[in-house]
């Protein structure tokens, strides 16, 4: 890369969107005829090709690190608003592209194996191709989101990934609780996201109002407006962008959709609801850094929301029994770390954690999927099992002792768990430590809360690992579990390696990622490596793991046993278990009044008042016409008399006037 004559590949950037789209179109047209393996391979190749393009872009940026805008098409020209379809290639967007297409490709490959089983367990093999069409569409939309040059184009991707999320959560839309559970979960995700999208829209309006442009390049150098109104508008932009972030990145108070989103197939949970889409909010804040810097209100609110979410979601994760729900709340908590980081101005730390989290959380979800299919396999091949009885293959209480049966999955799961818990020298340690160290110098309250969240993280991961993999098998299904084929385990191993060494991206004092992002974001604060903080956070992680072993590893969980923490914490643990009753509170505060209002509007207002008005008008017209219908008596001579009288009257008027 040293020679200055390196070829630059910036003009290839539209391909990151169009290659996945090409895969989608091929599968859409002829996917059903190609068979599962070919159609899955095409989708994986489309995503892999996008990854190659992203790599080429990265190489070009290394020799020429300044941001490049590649115009593609004219889009909207209305009055003062000019938005073109242009791609922005800079270090930040290419980082996101690499994560999305890289992790995305691994998940595509894994999904070939996973969906092969899944469509058979759900008894509809025809849906295999549809899954990969949605997955390719998601990659294309996510690429639009991260490669956009203006807020409006980002918004297109933002909505597009929301749509894909909806489609994939509801992939088995006729399954779930009472046959509508999955459909309701998908709807919940979509509607909750709409609330966030409303924030995005209002923020865009305010940006255009204040600065007259939506382009990132032009907004990079705006100065703070003077006057009271300008201050309010700038603060408002920050707060409405925060609302958008809370929707997409599942932060307080809009996080409720993400746990329910686990109704989707597990590769979807890994790709969309852990590694990529939910991090769009973090990316948005990093991208909007020049706007956030204009007012202290926005960043502070962002940091607090992130910190509170990190702790809040971590406590809920402790009390969950569903293997994917634990990971879902863990994702919310880790997203809280990232949001807190970008809110505090630690953009590099936030992006760093985003990347490493994409590695180990994708790994954890995919391994969880592997576990679930292993257990389901055991359940289906158990001759004594009652196959009509309700059996939840995701419930950790039905597992135990899987370590001997699923060796690869166990190994990679433990690597992922250690990385998430923040054990040195795995990926999660470096990135999380950077955030915590930043908070140390900024705000002691946030620092303490983040440390507490980190403790819970280590604790619930230890709890999960011991419940799932160690002890004795608690059901015959767990006893009959078996390892999954290589097409599923190889992506796991790749992700495990990435989780092991991902920390090398931004080692203290080397700061590869920091220097890389510096070209895009001005005035980055260099991360300080603090031995004290590193020691504390490592100690916290080990305490968490030790506590997890003390409660769940020392004596193995017996079938039908209640959680040992319940005795210790009592009602507090019930609160964890019941997710702090957030769903119930939202139901009582928002949904029930809304339903009551709808009932009022439907029955008395619509059916009585409005329909009454419409029907009354019709009836009145009927009466009136029956009244004057008497005049039409069918006697021609009376008509003639009326005409004569009329003529006489008119003439009389004209004469006597």
């Amino acid at each position: 890369m040293e020679n200055a004559t390196t070829t630059l590949y910036f003009h290839l950037v539209p391909l990151v969107v169009f290659l996945p789209l090409a895969g989608l179109v091929i599968n859409l047209l002829i996917g059903k005829k190609l068979g599962e393996v070919v159609s899955g391979t095409i989708a994986s190749l489309a995503s892999g090709a996008a990854f190659v393009v992203a790599c080429l872009l990265m190489l070009s940026l290394r020799s020429n690190p300044e941001a490049v805008v590649v115009p593609f098409a004219e889009w909207i020209r209305v009055g003062g608003l000019a938005v073109d379809w242009a791609f922005r290639v800079d270090t930040l967007s290419v980082t996101m592209m690499l994560v999305v297409s890289g992790v995305g490709t691994l998940i595509h490959i894994y999904a070939i194996g996973y969906m092969h089983e899944d469509v058979r367990l759900n008894e509809d093999p025809g849906r295999f191709t549809r899954f990969f069409i949605y997955l390719n569409l998601f990659i294309a939309m996510m690429m639009i989101l991260v490669s956009a040059e203006s807020y409006l184009m980002t918004f297109v991707g933002w909505e597009g990934v929301g749509l894909c999320s909806y489609l994939l959560i509801g992939f088995w839309f006729e399954k779930g609780k009472e046959g509508t559970g999955n459909a309701i979960a998908a709807k919940k995700a979509f509607i909750t996201n709409r609330v966030g999208d409303f924030g995005f829209l209002v923020a865009m309006f305010m940006i255009f109002l204040q600065f007259g442009t939506l382009s990132f390049s032009e907004l990079a150098h705006v100065s703070a407006p003077v006057g009271a109104l300008g201050t309010v508008v700038v603060a408002g932009i920050g707060l409405f962008l925060l609302l958008a972030v809370t929707g997409k990145s599942a932060q307080l108070p809009l996080f409720v959709w993400l746990p329910d989103a686990m109704a989707g197939p597990t590769p979807v949970s890994a790709l969309i609801h852990a590694a990529t889409m939910v991090t769009a909010g973090v990316y948005l804040v990093a991208r909007s850094a020049p706007l956030f810097e204009l007012s202290p209100v926005g960043p502070q609110a962002v940091a607090w929301v992130g910190t509170l979410t990190a702790l809040f979601a971590a406590t809920i994760a402790v009390g969950q029994y569903d293997i994917k729900k634990v990971l879902a709340y863990s994702t919310i908590s880790q997203l809280g770390f990232m949001v807190a980081a970008v809110g505090m101005g630690a953009y590099v730390a936030g992006m760093f954690h985003l990347v490493t989290h994409a590695f180990f959380k994708a790994l954890l979800f995919l391994s969880a999927g592997s576990v679930i299919q292993g257990v389901e396999h055991g359940h289906h091949h158990d001759p004594h099992a009652d196959h009509y009885a309700e059996f939840d293959p995701q419930d950790m209480r039905n597992m135990g002792g899987l370590a001997g049966k699923m060796k690869v999955t166990t190994a990679v799961y433990i690597i992922g768990a250690l990385a998430l818990a923040g054990v040195a020298p795995l990926a999660g340690f470096f990135s999380k430590d950077e955030i915590v160290a930043f908070a140390f110098g900024k705000n002691p309250v946030m620092f303490t809360m983040l440390l507490l969240a980190a403790f819970f993280t280590a604790f619930y991961m230890a709890r999960q690992v011991w419940m799932v993999f160690f002890g004795k098998a608690r059901t015959t299904a767990a006893q009959g579990a078996r390892e999954n084929p290589l097409v599923m385990t190889i992506p796991l191993m790749v992700l495990a390696v990435l989780s092991l060494v991902g920390g090398a991206l931004n080692l203290p004092h080397v700061e590869t990622l920091g220097k890389w992002l510096e070209h895009t974001m001005e005035g980055l604060h260099p991360a300080e490596f603090n031995w004290l903080v590193a020691g504390i956070s490592l100690a916290v992680a080990f305490t968490g793991i030790a506590a997890g072993w003390f409660f769940y590893g020392r004596r193995s969980w017996q079938p039908g046993q209640s959680d040992p923490m319940k005795k210790l914490l009592g009602p507090l643990f019930t609160a964890f278990e019941r997710k702090w009753w957030v769903d119930e509170i939202y139901n009582a505060l928002l949904l029930q009044p809304y339903k009551d209002l709808s009932a009022i509007l439907a029955e008395p207002v619509d059916q009585k008042l409005i329909d009454g008005c419409a029907n009354g008008l019709g009836r009145m017209t009927g009466w009136f016409s029956r009244g004057i219908g008497v005049l039409q008596n069918g006697l021609v001579r009376s008509y003639a008399l009326v005409i004569l009288a009329g003529v006489a009257a008119i003439l009389g008027y004209l004469i006597l006037r």
């Binding site: 219908g629 039409q632 008596n633 069918g634 006697l635 021609v636 001579r637 003639a640 008399l641 004569l644």
Partner: protein
């Protein structure tokens, strides 16, 4: 040329018109009603011609021709209708033609 006063023509015309109007209203036979209508046309024609003569202007006379043509056409259509109605209903009593009432 001894001149008959203008008022004579107008009075005659008014009487003819009134008789025609009464005929249309009180008779039930459409044939008679047509004849009464014709009487009203001719009352109007008489007025036209009288005024045309009095003012030395030919416009009134031209109008009369038009009225005659239209009246002839109208009678042709009307008589055809009466024949058609008689064929279907075996009566031409105008008061019985009330199926479109209300």
């Amino acid at each position: 040329m001894n001149t008959i006063p203008m008022s004579y023509y107008l009075v005659l015309s008014a009487v003819m018109f009134t008789l025609g109007a009464i005929g249309v209203i009180i008779r039930r036979n459409p044939l008679v009603m047509f004849m009464s209508l014709e009487l009203m046309f001719n009352a109007a024609n008489l007025t036209f011609v009288a005024f045309s003569n009095a003012f030395g202007n030919a416009n009134g006379q031209i109008f009369v021709f038009f009225v005659m043509v239209v009246a002839a056409a109208e009678v042709a259509v009307g008589l055809a209708l009466i024949v058609a109605i008689f064929r279907t209903r075996h009566s031409i009593d105008i008061d019985l033609m009330n199926t479109l009432k209300n």
